[in-house]
């Protein structure tokens, strides 16, 4: 997957799971705010990303992933 494919795949999956318009997702957007995540639904976001991309996000990594751009980069570097 190239970067564009990652962005498209992740955005579509997150928008569907968390029931928001995909257009609301922007690279600089805060993931928790945009998806309205609490401590429980954050787990679902991590699980979904792993299921979609095959990249595991460990607990320590989650802390540093604030924006969608952080997330795309994290995935790209591990594919």
């Amino acid at each position: 997957m190239n970067k564009q494919e990652i962005v498209e795949k992740i955005n579509n999956a997150l928008a569907e799971e968390f029931e928001i318009e995909v257009s609301k997702i922007t690279p600089d957007g805060d993931i928790k705010e945009t998806l309205d995540l609490d401590s429980l639904s954050l787990v679902d976001m991590v699980a979904l990303v792993e299921n979609v991309s095959g990249v595991e996000i460990k607990g320590t990594d989650v802390v540093s992933i604030k924006t969608f751009e952080n997330l795309y980069k994290f995935i790209e570097e591990r594919l």
Binding site: V43, D44, A47
Partner: protein
């Protein structure tokens, strides 16, 4: 002094319909909700028979963060409870300002447990189970979800009493209200219908294999019965102190005037006669009424050979030469298990309020025990003001409710 306990609202979601009105019509017409599910045969079931219950789509009703924690039976319970709260005229403002309790019968959440374990085994990664796994899997899943969704602040407890769970929930709730510990409690029972939840039950040869005639398979008290048909859904009954109901101008439908219970102290699956008899006697004693006031008996009878016979003996022993109509609505619904005690109160209430007794479908020939009872195989038009409802479960748990029209 004990306080009076009244029913102020009901809701139902079952194979007979998705609301009270539809269910009443099905009862009146004697419409069976039993179907054959070929997929179960492919899974290795002895019997592919089941109650036909559609999973409600609540996508536009509850938020994603509410839905993700609710298992199948919780969805049914949500719909039934929303209907019951509406009928009881319990608004969110009233609920927010009072300590409304919640006692609901549920005794499994097998599909949710299975789904979580499948992911653990396959992926070796617990995070991938997702956040819903734990909340869907616990036995108290129905009460934890309903309490959060409807913002209930009183007692919050799941009753696990096998196939008597829903009846015990209403009975125990009535005791809490009688003794002044609660003013209003949302009671009920829920039952998952997915095949995974009852495969092990099928495995002990408890289910009817009359697959060629699904609507004739559940035949409580009939000589040729060969086992139960599993069903499910959810039923909710709002109970309240008489004073509370009057004070807020609630519709007062009936009074829970007797709750009896007992344990057989015997075999894990085979019921006896003594335990149920004591449950019936206690409920009638607690109700403090002449037995001849009871105009209808909603039997537990599940269509199993031994269970129906022993219940028939117990009813005949307790009622003696007085023979009110006795039917099992399981002839239409199959056995709704954890839900049955609550749903059968709702079915009986609908009949009592509308002056009929639904047919005990498929009662064609009595056996030596059921011949002693007055079991109508066709609908009876009759006014009655009090009914008795039996619910018995594995492990020999018994519950009986006596409910009076108001």
């Amino acid at each position: 002094m004990k306080r009076r306990v009244v029913i102020t609202g009901m809701g139902i979601y079952s194979c007979l319909g998705k609301d009270l009105e539809t269910v009443q019509t099905s009862l009146y017409n004697g419409t069976s909700g039993i179907v054959f599910d070929a997929a179960r045969k492919e899974m290795g079931f002895r019997s592919g028979l089941t109650g036909n219950v559609q999973i409600p789509d609540l996508k536009n009703v509850l938020s994603r963060n509410q839905r993700v924690y609710i298992p199948e039976q919780g969805l049914y319970a949500y719909v039934a409870t929303a209907e019951a709260l509406s009928n009881a005229k319990l608004t969110q403002d009233y609920i927010d300002a009072h300590e409304i309790g919640l006692l609901y019968g549920n005794d499994s959440s097998a599909e949710a447990v299975m789904n979580s374990i499948d992911i653990m085994r396959d992926k070796k990664n617990t995070t991938l189970i997702g956040s819903g796994g734990i909340f869907k899997s616990m036995n108290s899943t129905v009460t934890m979800n309903l309490a959060c969704i409807f913002k209930l602040k009183g007692i919050n407890l799941t009753i696990s009493g096998a196939c008597a769970s829903g009846s015990h929930a209403i009975g125990l709730g009535s005791l809490l209200i009688q003794w002044g510990l609660q003013d209003c409690i949302v009671c009920g029972g829920a039952q998952e219908v997915n095949p995974y939840s009852i495969g092990s039950f099928d495995g002990i040869s408890a289910f009817s294999v009359r697959e060629s005639e699904p609507t004739k398979a559940s035949r409580p008290f009939d000589r040729d019965r060969d086992g139960l048909v599993p069903g499910g859904g959810a039923a909710t009954v709002i109970i309240e102190s008489y004073e509370s109901a009057v004070k807020r101008g609630a519709p007062i439908l009936a009074e829970v005037c007797g709750y009896g219970f007992s344990s057989n102290g015997d075999h894990i699956s085979v019921p006896n006669v003594d335990g149920p008899s004591r449950s019936l006697q206690m409920a009638i004693r607690e109700a403090g009424i002449d037995i001849r006031k009871i105009g209808y008996v909603n039997a537990h009878a599940t269509s199993t050979p031994v269970g129906d016979s022993n219940e028939a003996k117990a009813i005949a022993n307790v009622f003696g030469d007085y023979k009110p109509e006795v039917t099992s609505t399981k002839s239409m619904t199959g056995h709704e298990m954890w839900m049955a005690g609550a749903s059968e109160v709702v079915y009986s209430m609908l009949m009592m309020k509308n002056d009929f007794i639904a047919a005990n479908l498929n009662f064609e020939n009595p056996d030596e025990d059921s011949v002693k009872l007055n079991i109508p195989s066709v609908r009876v038009h009759k006014h009655f003001d009090t009914f008795l409802s039996n619910s018995f479960g594995f492990g020999g748990t018994n519950s009986t409710l006596v409910i009076k029209n108001l």
